[in-house]
Amino acid sequence: MAAQQLPSSPPTASEPAADGLCVDGLNAWYGQAQILHGVGLNVGPGEIVALLGRNGAGKTTTLRAIMGLVRRSARQLGFRGADIGPMPPFAIARRGLGYVPEDRRIFTDLTVDENLETGRQPPRPGAPQWTPERLFELFPNLGRMRDRPGGAMSGGEQQMLAIARTLMGNPHMVLLDEPAEGLAPRIVEDMAAALLALKREGLSLLVAEQNLNFARLLADRAHVLAGGESRFSGTMAELDADPDARDALLAV
């Protein structure tokens, strides 16, 4: 079997940490309770990687821990050659690592334009650059409601806005938490198309997902979590061939 088994594996291939995300031995806590136990994963430049697992497996916590939004420790937490372990969340975001949370967390009092403004960062060499106009090409719906407050939008529109807001920071990579959750099937297809368009721009994505079919539409590779630990890492084809990993994913 060709799939790497984690935890233990150091990053293979041509040092992805130098231009991607490399996580090893990641622990995280809520209060006194330890949620993650040595999670490891890596995302190379221009890749879409799915972070799979059942409800409560630790997907959301992994993304939040990478961003520094929960207490964590790690053997390695590297992003584009820098150690982001000691950094506060804003500094991590300013290195070009974007984050779109599961519950979207749109600023409901702010208009679409103002929401986009909150995410704006200076252009970043080597990363795709975004303006509101370019984002409205990607998400045409948003362009028709620039002055609407975030609180008066549908779930799908809020999800588009949440992604667009993060893209305004011109990130190299985005951590995306369940982008398809709670969306109508037709919108889910639009979302998948938009994410693939982002990949073509050169953006890398780490997508936490429960829905294996949605992940299959997008991802090059997958990491599987269960009980706050890494269970599998490999290509989608290898995932299909691995009975243990599939067991970890099957819904209860």
Partner: protein, 622 residues
Amino acid sequence: MSFWIAQFLTGLASAASLFLVASGLSIIFGVTRVVNFAHGAFYMVGAYVAWSLTERLSGAFGWWGGVLLAAAAVAALGALAEILVLRRIYQAPELFQLLATFGLTLVAADLVVMLWGPDELVGRRAPGFTGSIALFDQMIPAWDLFLIALGPVALGLLWLLFNRTRFGVLVRAATQDREMAAALGVNEKWLFTGVFALGVFLAALAGALQLPRESVNHHMDLRIIVDAFVVVVIGGLGSITGAFVAALLVAQLNAFGILLFPKISLVIIFLVMAAVLAVRPWGLLGRPDVAQRPPAATSARPWRPLGGAGRLAMAALVLAAAALPFVSGDYLVIAATETLIFAILAVSLHVLLSVAGVASFGHAAFFGLGAYGVALAVKGLGLGMGAALALAPLVGLVGAGLFALAAARLSGVYLAMLTLAFAQILWSIAFQWVEVTGGDNGVLGLWPAGFAAQPAGFYWLTLGLAVLVIGVSRVIMFSPFGYGLRGARDEARRAASIGVSPGLMRWCAFAIAGTGAAVAGALFAFLKGSVFPDTLAIPVSVDSLVMVLLGGVQTTLGPLAGAVAYKALSIWLLSQTQWSKLALGLVILAVVLAFPRGLVGVVNQWRDRWLTQRRPGHGEPP
């Protein structure tokens, strides 16, 4: 008629400075969630600094330059205070920052007297606005007309700042969701500092602009802070427009209340505030508060009743306390009695604040009810000490029960402010209903009888009641009912779904806390031999809050330690130095910075760390 118009214009002019102070308070709370008690102090310091600068700088430009320079200088001081103090304690339990800003207030209060002297200072008038203008047969000061125009202009400028600048958009975003703003690359630290400096600038500017209207004195801080709190709450926390409307309302109530309802002039603002909150629990233009953090008292460290060793230590402590009169003079015994009384008060507030998770800025209400309950029982009903001590807590129970019913819809800071309003209403009644309460002269001649007539006897009585109240509060804390209180505190909805009514739990907490506080108030009345409206005043509420926070709001023994440390320290400092506020403020700031979990909290932390070190292999979060 023209007199009324003149009064109306005076009210409008007062509204402008009230609006500046209140909007600053509101902005700071919205973003940082800090209830900035020091806001009145910054207002006062702004006035003092402006006085000095306008005395030195000459010419028309000099006066205006002095005012703006003063506001900017005080804003820089505010930024410094934020960086040195508040920035270190944003992670501490909510309300803990209140303790820090209270310390700043104490420091400022003594510093202005030290630097500018105790006497009132009269400042120079604004060049170009020295005269009066005849309007409707009345002479209106030109400066008042300037202030009337300034109000809407300031509102407009603030609107532009928050809606048309990147800074403003980021502030509004962070007000709603700080964590998300940080994940988008917004540096919270400097945003908070900027917001704090902006709020302080507005307060200091308001203080400086008062120069032509009134003399500068060292009572300005407390006088404005209560009105500003009321304005912020009536208008709705975080709403600038709401603050503007509420400032107009409050200023007009101040201007006309004294004319129309002289009997209840002091209470009218608080009645209006209570009425507004009854109809709109989040103020006129406010929105439901989204709790960004768990309640102050939620702690990852589980509470446990004392074990055998702890109980022995407590018993030894009580015995040692009981032996005090044998080894010391009357002065120390009386000081210890007062300390014990405040320990009872702090423990009663702890039931409300820590066990039930309900913040109160008006705990003096129940303390004062107990004290006036004694006055009523002794002077009105002719009862003896024992009967009075039995009756007075019931007065506190009834008062707290009624208040909790009326406040059933409120929560969070709004509820805390309504408790303040309740205390202020009672204070005003005690102050203005002279026929019954004696007003400012108080009720005299309430001496303890029999064995308690001597300081030692009364000390033992107080010690006995303190042991009783504290014991009962601990039994409650660790009873199934106490679990219900804490469950409703941490997860109201889940508690409700298993049959624990959060509303009922909160009502019970108020009833218990009110009764306990009234016991303290009743003892205080007999200790002093008299009752004055002071027992209902804000300093008592603030002191009780400070004691609980100082001891550690997340702990069970915190209020006891906090009360003893704070009261003993303040009594001692008062006897040692004329700058006792300064010293006390510095001590509080030092404690806040060194022990952000309070005195008992830090002891617990040390013990936990020691215990985990003895158990190798146990994972310790970073």
